[in-house]
């Protein structure tokens, strides 16, 4: 049962990813990305990582994607970018990278399959995660917070000149 659910969900995730990378309109791609992330969240749930599933939905599909939405809306691209994308995305452009990526995929598959086949699905609940966080991985948490601080400062710094020189909603 869980296996069938897993297959369906992974199919959704793969389909969504494929759709995402082939869209001409950035917003459409974004929506497919959200779909992919949600599918992966479901997979997390199936694997017994409830905490991770929740985090995936809230933070990844929630906050980060909203950030993307903001930026795309701010850079109001419009019809002309769609035309541009159509020009850029010729079929022949897909061949090279696809071949390369396929080779890589095969290699990874080989590595994976040659490993041990143990069962997955042990539930690891939030309590365990919390204890681990405040125990051995305390330093990692601190580092993560410094990273976030750095990202905050960097984003603010990068955005600052823009605030001064551009009016909101300007059509570029």
């Amino acid at each position: 049962m869980a296996l069938i659910l897993f297959y369906i969900t992974s199919a959704v995730a793969i389909f969504a990813s494929v759709m995402m990378i082939t869209r001409l309109n950035a917003v459409h791609g974004l929506l497919y990305l959200i779909l992919s992330l949600l599918a992966v969240g479901v997979i997390f749930f199936l694997l017994g990582a409830h905490f991770a599933a929740v985090l995936e939905v809230i933070i990844y599909a929630g906050a980060i994607m909203v950030l993307f939405v903001f930026v795309i809306m701010m850079l109001n691209q419009g019809q002309k970018t769609i035309k541009q994308e159509r020009i850029w995305l010729q079929p022949r452009i897909w061949i090279g990278p696809s071949v390369l990526a396929f080779i890589l995929f095969v290699e990874i598959l080989v590595i994976v399959v040659l490993g041990d086949n143990a069962e997955t699905g042990h539930i690891v609940n939030s309590k365990q995660v919390g204890i681990a966080l405040y125990g051995p991985y305390l330093l990692a948490v601190e580092l993560a917070s410094i990273l976030l601080l750095a990202g905050l400062v960097g984003a603010y710094h990068l955005g600052k000149p823009m605030l001064k020189t551009t009016k909101p909603g300007i059509n570029s």
């Binding site: 995402m20 017994g48 906050a63 993307f68 691209q77 995305l89 396929f102 042990h122 990692a140 990068l158």
Partner: protein, 97 residues
């Protein structure tokens, strides 16, 4: 377990293709997100297999990283747009050789 890892591999490769093919900066960033997500999936699968919390903690750190990266990356994308008036990744090429 290998199913999960294979799925992770597929998603990773798809994201890689997106990074290599798309020219729009935003699309590149979004493909990057897919790749990060796939890595996180791999970690969760591993953690689930051993029944440890370490997998989810790694996933948490990856998530943090993704968030910071998106913040800075989008800021950079905005700067490029502001300067070059286009989101074409190839337009920021100043090499003359």
């Amino acid at each position: 377990m290998e199913l999960g890892l294979s799925l992770s591999a597929v998603l990773f490769v798809l994201g890689l293709i997106g990074v290599m093919v798309r020219r729009n900066l935003i699309m590149i960033l979004m493909s990057l997100e897919v790749m990060l997500n796939a890595t996180g999936l791999a970690f969760i699968v591993a953690g689930s297999r051993w029944g440890e919390a370490d997998g989810q903690i790694m996933f948490l750190l990856i998530l943090t990283l993704a968030a910071a990266e998106v913040g800075v990356g989008l800021g950079l994308a905005l700067q490029i747009f502001h300067r070059f008036r286009t989101l074409d990744a190839d337009s920021v090429n100043e090499m003359q050789g």
